[in-house]
Symmetry: C2
Subunit: 325 residues, 2 copies
């Protein structure tokens, strides 16, 4: 089952069930929003499943730009950093001790008062901040009680999503050095249009990891297709980490961090910072520029049968300083 939030007159849009070809949808009546669905999941699941069958025959067409983020705003956004290769490359390039990931998950709390729609223009203050994308997978959770262990955690995974965690790299090291974590360098994320139940991934959802290539293009050129399977810590361990000292409310979005693979020479990278790190290590110079006005970034992930599971993120960049917005 795949869900999409289509624009209406409200800030949270209207939840729909979407067809396998991603082009037709039927409105959900039992609840209006994805947040309501998360809070009443068990009660409304039969309705959603009935709609999911009906949408193949009776769905109404919709245009890609009608789709909002599945959550136009959410109760909580927690972002991990679970790919060892990414940590090793960044540490080596930046002259840090090359220790890889620590023995406990890395995670920060990001803004969740808005998520950009998949085709919405992304507006940033200035190209001098080092505008970057980060392709990652995420899970949407039901209510998770404080103290939930990793072995009990995956039962709370309701939906899987594809996320672009926009980042301002020039601000990253400054904010990391304070120990307070990231604020200015992490503006609003974007989410691909379709939030899908784990069964849509078939065997690609395994061990709490999304075993799919995350396809990223920059201005029409392939940038990366790294697979989500190589997480050091699976979503089970990320959930347990997040829930150590707090209940996680239904509708929490939990991210994997930038997807990265050990064979990056073949698979590419899921963010510019990592490619620049590889260039610096291999040639002594970072060649690939960060993003600027008018640059376009697309992300998608194809399932085992070649279908486009999450729909596509397809965004262009606009600068406040360049345009006088």
């Amino acid at each position: 089952m795949r869900l999409v939030t289509l624009a209406n007159e409200t800030r949270d849009g209207h939840l729909h069930v979407v067809s396998q070809d991603g082009k037709r949808a039927l409105p959900v009546d039992a609840v209006k929003t994805l947040q309501e669905a998360m809070e009443r999941w068990d009660a409304i699941l039969p309705d959603l499943q009935t709609l999911s069958r009906a949408v193949e025959d009776s769905g109404e067409p919709f245009a890609p730009n009608q789709a909002l983020a599945p959550f136009p705003r959410a109760v909580q956004w927690l972002d991990g950093s679970a790919f060892e290769t990414h940590a090793l490359l960044i540490q080596q390039a930046w002259g840090m001790p090359v220790t890889g990931l620590p023995d406990r998950p890395l995670m920060y709390q990001g803004l969740s008062d808005r998520f950009l729609a998949p085709t919405q223009t992304a507006i940033f203050p200035s190209a001098e901040d080092g505008i970057d994308f980060e392709g990652e997978f995420g899970v949407i959770l039901g209510d998770v009680p404080m103290g939930t262990s990793a072995k009990d955690a995956l039962q709370y995974v309701r939906l899987i999503v594809l996320i672009n965690d926009w980042s301002l790299r020039a601000l990253g090291p400054i904010e990391m050095a304070t120990g307070f974590g990231w604020l200015q360098c992490k503006p609003a994320c974007s989410i691909a249009p379709f939030a899908v139940t784990p069964d849509e991934l078939g065997s690609a959802w395994r061990d709490g990891r999304v075993g799919l290539p995350l396809n990223i293009h920059r201005n029409g050129q392939e940038f990366g297709k790294a697979n989500g399977a190589q997480m050091k810590f699976g979503f089970d361990e990320l959930i347990a980490h997040a829930a150590y000292s707090r209940d996680l409310p239904a509708g929490t979005i939990l991210g994997s961090g930038t997807v990265a693979n050990a064979n990056y020479a073949e698979m590419g990278s899921s963010c510019i910072a990592e490619r620049r790190a590889i260039e610096l290590i291999e040639t002594g110079t970072s060649e690939t520029p960060f993003l600027t006005e008018g640059d376009r970034v697309t992300m998608s992930a194809q399932g085992p049968e070649g279908n486009d599971i999450f729909g596509a993120i397809d965004q262009s960049i606009q600068l406040v300083k360049a345009t006088g917005v």
Copy 2:
């Protein structure tokens, strides 16, 4: 004008206007919740002001335990660390370079899916985590556009609140060292019952700072009465920092960080960690223990005329491990 959210059958409670003695209230009809009030502030302000006059004569009594946090949940919680004395003491005690605060504000994003009610029992995993309180002042904002400067920022301050930012100290250094900031060590905060307009503070609201003593008692013993005026960065600068790369939605809560004063020998501290730092510096040993099962923490702040402006936080602690919850 002072506002209180009283419990009803909904998760967000019902917004009321409260009398000067803090004991009687009248329900707001124009909106149900404080979040709605923040989003329609200019339109409903006349209604609120009318109620604020009427409540002195016709308000209905309510019990302290009927009051929820002004926001039982909020769109965003951003917490600064703006008191130089606190930074200097912690740095000296922990053997860090004693540089004070950096030349830009420190701030992290905390969980906002829930705020504890002022008399609600606070539940934590274990006393081994170093349970601590942090008394601080906060502002509640209207919509702040990205790029707002400090000189334009104070117009967006709608209300002022008193916050206890519960902290788990044993986890703090571990999470700071990662550069990702705090997650496990910052469970849900509590907020005192009354959110007040800046005019309620008279001349104590000046230069974007709350010039009031924050009175803290631990198990009935005075712990601190530090004044909020000594922020290195005022709320104007904190707002500009937060809004550098994002719009701040109406209802954002922005905190000052632990209130601390240079004359701490007289004023005490607003958290146990700071008192332990002072003890370590002065005697070589930290004597004051962190909190455990059954400990009680109260916080309040009296205005220039001796009135209790924000009402009182009065909470006891319960441990999961001790009680088997």
